[in-house]
Symmetry: C2
Subunit: 140 residues, 2 copies
């Protein structure tokens, strides 16, 4: 029972398609999905080292380097040396970064929020619970 293989296929397909749709909803001049995700992580969890960001985002260090370089070029995060270990760099959200988070999240998610608003309460509650399960599945 519970055909896990069939559910896995359907879930993979649904997630793949929703990702495509969400990527298309990127506002003009908005941050990309990965940039926004990394920025929020640094903002929520305080100053982080580059390796910590990579770990929390679930990506390899070179992938993090690229996203962090873009955020720094935009002035949204600042990069400082670690006082006790010269190899490490410490990333923190700047005031400009902090200001961008709210507006970018709003713009980025406006489309999805609108779609959610037309769902019934049942479906919305279903999604709220499903999000927790999806996050759990995403942990490798």
């Amino acid at each position: 029972m519970t055909d896990n293989a069939a559910l896995a296929s359907e879930l993979r397909l649904a997630v793949h398609r929703l990702t495509r749709t969400l990527r298309n909803q990127r506002p003009v001049d908005g941050l990309s999905l990965s940039q926004l995700s990394a920025l929020v992580t640094i903002w929520r969890e305080g100053p982080l080292r580059a390796g910590d960001v990579a770990a929390r985002e679930g990506v390899k260090p070179p992938s993090a380097t690229r996203v962090l370089a873009a955020l720094e070029a935009l002035g949204l995060i600042s990069r400082g040396p670690d006082p006790t270990d010269g190899r490490q760099v410490t990333l923190a959200v700047t005031p400009a970064g902090s200001a961008r988070i709210d507006e970018d999240i709003k713009a980025r998610d406006a489309w999805l929020a609108q779609r959610l608003s037309v769902l019934g309460d049942d479906d919305r509650q279903l999604l709220e619970r499903a999000v927790a399960v999806l996050k759990q599945l995403a942990e490798q």
Copy 2:
């Protein structure tokens, strides 16, 4: 209540991360997510024109062209002219493509199916219902 904006953000994040995880589970020599998705679409819905594949996959024609070229190079689909309109091409799954679907889906989804198998029945049923809602959201 039901803060649609907050749910949108959480859902976006969860879907983004699960996509990253699933992409990493690509088996050696396995088809990519987009290749497998397109192949299954053609297999399920019979011979399709290139534009139909793009529409069903929710991508633009150039994106479909690339995926279809890869599938054809692998011998998994065949390309024929439309008898009534020389501009169109008709894609069909070959016997080799048909054979690859089962094994590739199994290999691709083995990891996820295993993760699903350790969930409780409640969570599994939750996901089954959530998949339908996610697919609906993905329709632009």
